[in-house]
Amino acid sequence: MISAIIVMAVIGLVLGSVLGWAELFYRVAGDPLADKINDILPQTQCGQCGFPGCRPYAEAMAKGEADINRCPPGGEPGIQRLADLLGVEAKPFGEGVAPKPKSVALIDENTCIGCTLCIQACPVDAIVGASKQLHVIVADLCTGCELCLAPCPVDCIHMEVVHETVNNWKWRYPLIPIHQQREAA
């Protein structure tokens, strides 16, 4: 009886120290969790999560200070991925937070006065132009964060929903005849 307890205790000690050593040995420098979270976030940098950009939100989540359901641009799939990564239950968006269809900003070419205010506002340098010149939003770079709307003194920027075109069209999930559909449900 006593010998059994001793054996168990020794095994426990050995395994414990192996685990502890492994923890030290494999520890990664820096904050890998925040990086991993940041990789999931859509990098729209819109601040809708209440943080000044995606990275701060990621860091807050890594510290456990922020919930996973606060990034509307990431949508439901984003929440799902965060939940998978962090090992928690996915949850719906909170009150007043809802994903919108992906949009890009458009500058009314004939109204823009070239004030550069929107350039300064854009977190991802998607607006090109120089002082007193017409500014153009590069649609491919625009993340649709809407931060440039407010600063414009002549209200010449508006958002336009990105429609499906031959270019960005995707094949749909195959529609399976009746009985399998029910099976999937």
């Binding site: 195959p174 529609l175 009746i178 009985h179 099976e183």
Partner: protein, 340 residues
């Protein structure tokens, strides 16, 4: 909204596949009925009815539509295979238990057709041989050896009423049983082979049934229902293992030919190990899968507690099939050799 291809191969469906497999079983079944009496028809019909019944109940409980799953023929094939793997003339509840395990436990608890890990018929068989070993050794004797050959109505009585004839009158041990008894009792293989149940190569009657299964299997290969890999590897491994054992100790081990023809070898090689859902799917995987199963079959027959090892070896390999598959993926077009 289903895209191309807009044309599908004609006469291909799950049902048609199952019907063809059952057609391949017909010669074996006829030979069985010829040598062992009409009792097989009772167990076939009874197992089929049970299979459909259990399938329907399982589908209703799982909230699935009945029609497509019931008419795909897969449950009938399971029923048929189980009926051919267990003794005829056993009490009705024995078949019921077997079919319950096959259909409800092995098939539907795993998610229905295509999802099961284990071959349903073999799960039924294994459950029965573990729970009711006595019944599972009372095989109908070949008609030439039996004192009484029950006709169809006798057989019906035996199964459902439990007739007045004692089992000894119409049953006998199989060759595998007699071999096991003999070698356990310190006798030699030749002693076992001197028993009346032993025919030319293996069990009297059973050896001809096995040859019929072989023909059915060749029909399936020629019809591209199965590929050659599993049967060939399975039988080759049986022959090799038996040959090595016999070479080591000829007095106590039966030879390759015996093991290939005895018990469930042929049925297993062509009809059970080849069950696509539970077997390996890659060419190399099939060879490994069936090779190991054949090896285990002889090992279990020789050293294990049960007379036949086909069911257990296939069930064991079923668990390994996904892993074997994962490590035996064929070389994809355009990929260099050796690169996974």
């Amino acid at each position: 909204m289903i895209g191309s291809p807009f044309i599908l191969k004609e006469h291909t469906s799950v049902r048609f596949t199952m019907i063809k497999v059952m057609a391949a079983l017909v010669p074996g079944t006829l030979a069985y009925a010829w040598y062992f009496g009409p009792g097989i028809w009772i167990s076939l019909v009874w197992c089929s009815l049970l299979g459909i019944g259990f399938e329907a109940v399982a589908l209703v409980i799982r909230g699935r539509p009945l029609q497509p799953a019931l008419t795909d023929g897969s449950v009938l094939l399971t029923a048929w295979l189980l009926a051919l793997s267990i003794p005829t003339l056993a009490p009705w509840w024995l078949y019921m238990t077997g079919m319950f395990f096959a259909v409800v436990v092995a098939k539907h608890l795993y998610g229905g057709l295509g999802q099961n890990l284990f071959n349903p018929a073999m799960v039924g068989y294994a459950a029965l041989i573990i729970s009711f070993p006595v019944f599972m050794t009372q095989w109908a004797a070949p008609t030439t050896l039996a004192n009484i050959v029950p006709n169809l109505s006798d057989a019906f009585d035996l199964v459902f009423v439990g007739g007045s004839i004692t089992p000894d009158a119409y049953t006998s041990a199989t060759v595998l049983d007699s071999l096991k008894t003999a070698t356990r009792g310190g006798h030699t293989v030749l002693d076992a082979f001197a028993q009346p149940i032993h025919g030319l190569i293996a069990g009297k009657g059973m050896e001809l049934v096995a040859i019929m299964y072989l023909f059915g299997g060749l029909f399936m290969i020629s019809n591209r229902l199965i590929t050659w890999h599993i049967p060939v590897a399975f039988l080759a491994a049986i022959a090799l293992t038996a040959g090595v054992l016999q070479g080591l100790d000829p007095a106590h081990h039966a030879g390759p030919l015996f093991h290939m023809m005895a018990g469930g070898s042929m049925l297993g090689a062509f009809f059970i190990a080849t069950d696509p859902v539970t077997a390996c799917t890659t060419p190399r995987g099939k060879l490994i899968f069936a090779g190991l199963a054949g090896f285990l079959t002889v090992i279990i027959r020789t050293f294990g507690g049960y007379p036949d090892g086909v069911a257990f070896s296939i069930l064991i390999l079923n668990t390994a099939a996904p892993f074997i598959d994962a490590f035996s993926q064929p070389r994809v077009f355009g990929h260099a050799k050796g690169v996974k």
